[in-house]
């Protein structure tokens, strides 16, 4: 199952529309989406506007692959739960975000091999076809907390 999430802030119709088309071509793979404030009504995938945290987590845990915007909340959750993730950065030119920082986030995390990134809808389609043909491999595991170095630095600064 592929779980699509746009985060909860702004609509991200470009991703939802593209995933609705892709869902049609991905036979035997169920696609479920949390669409938040999106105006678009998907036809080929199950869509939920807002999901309570419990149901959101159930879908996230059940998914074989996550598709989302390049938001840190979703990326960190995917890393903690060891879910392969494909991110499509929100772009300012489509009024999807105030600036293009998600583009830089996607590039940096892709370089670290923490995420798969798609920078166009065509690339998203190709990546998803490749990833659903085989078991998408694990990307990177992280623990529950920040790096020891950052924790230590904060601890020392607090008592200094």
């Amino acid at each position: 199952m592929i779980f699509v999430t746009t985060g909860t802030q702004e609509p991200f119709d470009r991703l939802i529309k593209a995933m609705d088309e892709i869902a049609c071509s991905l036979q035997e793979t169920e696609v479920v989406a949390q669409v938040a404030a999106s105006e678009f009504q998907p036809k080929n995938m199950a869509a939920h506007k807002f999901l309570p945290p419990k149901e959101f987590n159930e879908l996230f845990n059940k998914a074989d692959l996550i598709v989302s915007h390049a938001g840190m909340g979703t990326i960190i959750s995917a890393l903690v739960k060891q879910k392969p993730i494909v991110v499509l950065p929100r772009l300012a030119k489509f009024s999807e975000h105030r600036n293009d920082h998600q583009l830089a986030t996607a590039r940096a995390f892709e370089k670290l091999e923490y995420v798969h990134a798609a920078y166009s809808l065509e690339e998203l389609r190709v990546k998803l076809q490749q990833l659903t043909l085989k078991e998408p491999g694990e990307l990177h595991r992280i623990g529950q907390y920040a790096s020891k170095e950052l924790i230590n630095s904060l601890q020392n600064f607090i008592v200094s």
Binding site: I76, S77, Q102, A104, T105, S153, L154, I158
Partner: protein
């Protein structure tokens, strides 16, 4: 020590929770923009604060007043935030009321500090980036919220 840990809903909040071991030996009070988050930190005191961004000046003033009241009531020794605007306001109020203030810029900001982070840098006692390339003598880098 009393630590007020504040962040907006979403990625900022998730990053704040990953810093928890740094504060555990102190009294922690959490604040975020969604009441339901109290469940994720159920053994701690939690306050919901209004959200705002720089595009809505009226909401920004309302949020600033609410957060200043919170800081005045809590009287923290430390205010720490991972962003965004409500965290900046918490830091500013903390600074005015004598707390030590810490800004941890979101790991989402790869190429430059966020606008809020650049503002925090003007007055915060400590500013962290999570990317080595953004470190300067005033912007500290000591790893990131991942591990």
């Amino acid at each position: 020590m009393k630590v007020l840990a504040i962040a907006s809903a979403g990625g900022h909040w998730i990053q704040l929770l990953r810093l928890m071991p740094a504060f555990e030996q102190h009294e922690i009070i959490f604040a975020s923009t969604r009441q339901s988050f109290s469940e994720t930190v159920s053994s701690y005191k939690f306050y919901a604060v209004p959200d705002a961004n720089r595009w809505n000046k009226f909401k920004l003033i309302y949020m600033g007043a609410a957060i200043s009241r919170l800081v005045l009531a809590v009287k923290p020794d430390i205010v720490v935030t991972t962003g965004a605007a409500p965290g900046l306001m918490g830091l500013l109020a903390g600074k005015l009321f004598g707390a030590k203030t810490i800004w941890v810029d979101s790991i989402a900001n790869v190429e430059k500090l966020s606008l809020s982070g650049r503002l925090a840098l003007l007055f915060a006692d400590r500013t962290y980036t999570q990317w080595e390339g953004l470190a300067t003598p005033k912007v500290h880098y000591h790893g990131n919220v991942l591990s």
